[in-house]
């Protein structure tokens, strides 16, 4: 999936990495926005073999957006602000 920036898309840029690859995002993005508005496509792969996942509720309830951030451990991408320099791994 790809989030489509519809408004307010001129904020200062920040850079983070996803599985070692650089991702450009904007200040004020959540991790979910940062990754999915870039070309990450998905956030995790279901541990039950039924495919990719990219969150569902965007309000911190469904837990389907887990990713790992270096130094923070497992977080919900939808409820975690993206910060410059974050090293993110798919959950």
């Amino acid at each position: 999936m790809r989030l489509h920036r519809l408004r307010d898309a001129d904020r200062p840029r920040i850079a983070l990495t996803l599985d070692g690859r650089t991702i450009e995002a904007q200040q004020g993005d959540t991790l979910l926005t940062a990754l999915l508005a870039a070309d990450a496509g998905h956030l995790r792969r279901s541990e039950f073999g039924d495919g990719e996942r990219a969150g569902f509720c965007l309000m911190g309830a469904c837990q389907d957006c887990w990713v790992a951030v270096e130094g923070l451990g497992r977080v919900r991408a939808c409820a975690t602000p993206a910060e410059a320099g974050m090293a993110v791994k798919r959950g």
Binding site: H4, R7, R11, H42, F48, D50, F56, C57
Partner: protein, 464 residues
């Protein structure tokens, strides 16, 4: 008196306002960094906060609520980014977590204003990247300035369906279709009662009219068949119209939801009994019209106490705070209480008409194909729950929800059944040939949301 309030949405803000005016300084907890709750959620600071753009017709109310919140948070014991993950009603303790640090909040009275989340029906393909709840689609736009895709289908029923579709179209996203599972006739039959809603009803009509005028394809009485796509995400959606014809619509995202269900896990842990509200088709915690519960010292307000919407939440928050003060022997203004009670009763009648206009399509949940994923957390399919329910199941039949959970892991995942619970209950009820209220509901468990693995848990203590 030590008072704890959980939630800083419309209900929590108005509750704290009343408590502080009466001279108290409550501990005020919200998982979010700021107040406003779901409807009036504010984007993080680097994003613009133009109330008109963000909240439309609700801009005035949003601005007023934010102003109230900003004034209160400086004087209350405000604890943002803090999850209340457990409550012990005997010991009167809330357990909280803030950025990895645990704390215990001791209280004499607790007021829970925990809100709601989307009620969803699984549809084959609903775990594909690009499928979100209606509320999630709205949060992406409101709090992040993003659409969930370029060409979006909105599917479901209820006021949020039309509102979110309208908000997307206004923001410049292409709305590929609005697919309402409720037949037109059902809504028409409820129209006389809806008229009581006055402005709220008029706004609803406006959104529908606006979408039609802008040639957004809309259909009513639809049956969703499958969301299709692959590793890249959603590619389209197949559905059947009211006359039985199949259609396919190309899209890269789907927002779906069928009303809301209370976020009532803390109320459950507080030992408050629940009842099945047949009209809302939800389990709701038991409380009186003022928000008092059968568990002394524990009060409920807002959508977490039964879905009422944002206006009701504001009234109910203030009313529950007054009930708390009354029970503590503090004088409250009788005219204020009477005004709130009258307004709440009026709203209740409108709400009942809304629930009749947009009934939960239980038959769609019950008809979920065996191979479709039911529980996202555990990758569990509808057929596995059906098998657990049957008498020939090796572990014995599962006659109610919590047994079925033990046998099939439905609702045991990390969301605790928030997402699949409503549909799972319908599937189980249909399989057993029982009314859905007869098979019970999934119980809340601490922690109400998963804690980071690193967070140490406090030693268990006996519940008096």
């Amino acid at each position: 008196m030590r008072i704890a309030v959980v939630g800083a949405g419309p209900a929590g803000v108005r509750a704290v306002e009343v408590l502080m005016a009466a001279g108290h300084r409550p501990v005020w907890i919200d998982e979010a960094p700021e107040g406003g709750g779901r409807i009036y959620q504010r984007p993080p600071a680097p994003l613009q906060r133009n109330a008109r753009t963000l909240y439309g017709f609700e801009a005035k109310r949003a601005t007023a609520l934010h102003a109230a919140f900003d004034a209160l948070k400086a004087r209350a014991d405000w604890r943002p980014e803090t999850l209340a993950w457990h409550i012990r009603p005997g010991a009167k303790r809330l357990h909280t977590l803030h950025r990895g640090t645990q704390a215990v909040v001791e209280y004499d009275a607790a007021l829970l204003c925990t809100g709601a989340m989307d009620r969803v029906l699984p549809v084959p393909g609903w775990t594909l990247p690009g499928v979100t709840t209606l509320g999630g689609a709205q949060i992406a736009l409101k709090a992040q300035g993003c659409g969930i895709g370029r060409r979006v289908v909105f599917l479901g029923s209820g006021p949020l369906l039309w509102l979110v579709a309208y908000q997307y179209a206004k923001a410049g996203a292409e709305v590929a279709a609005v697919l309402d599972t409720t037949p037109f006739a059902t809504k028409a039959a409820a129209a006389p009662g809806l008229l009581r809603g006055g402005a709220t009803f008029a706004k609803g009509l406006f959104y529908v009219g606006w979408l039609r005028a802008h040639r957004v394809p809309v259909a009513e009485g639809v049956t969703p068949l499958a969301i299709e796509g692959g590793a890249e995400g959603v590619a389209g959606l197949r559905w059947r119209d009211a006359s039985g014809r199949e259609h396919a619509v190309a899209c890269d995202a789907v927002g779906m939801g069928w009303g809301l269900r209370p976020e009532a896990q803390l109320a459950d842990l507080a030992g408050i009994p629940f009842r099945f509200d047949a009209l809302q088709h939800n389990w709701v915690p038991v409380r009186d019209a003022a928000g008092r519960t059968p568990v002394a010292g524990h009060y409920l307000a807002g959508d977490g106490a039964g879905i009422g919407g944002a206006e009701v939440a504001e009234l109910a928050g203030a009313r529950a705070a007054l009930a708390l003060l009354q029970d503590a022997g503090q004088a409250v203004e009788a005219t204020t209480v009477a005004r709130l009670d009258a307004a709440l009763a009026r709203q209740q009648r409108f709400r009942a008409a809304l629930d009749r206009a947009f009934p939960f399509p239980a038959h769609l949940a019950a008809a979920l194909p065996d191979e479709a994923i039911l529980c996202r957390c555990e990758g569990l399919r509808a057929g596995e729950l059906r098998a657990a329910a049957r008498a020939d199941n090796a572990a014995g039949p599962a006659p109610e929800m919590n047994r079925a959970k033990a046998f099939s892991r439905t609702g045991m995942g990390r969301c605790q059944g928030r997402v699949c619970g409503a549909a799972a209950a319908e599937i189980l009820a249909a399989e057993l040939g029982q009314p859905v209220e007869a098979i019970g509901r999934l119980r809340g468990q601490p922690p109400v949301k998963p804690l980071p693995i690193a967070a140490p848990r406090p030693a268990p203590e006996a519940v008096p």
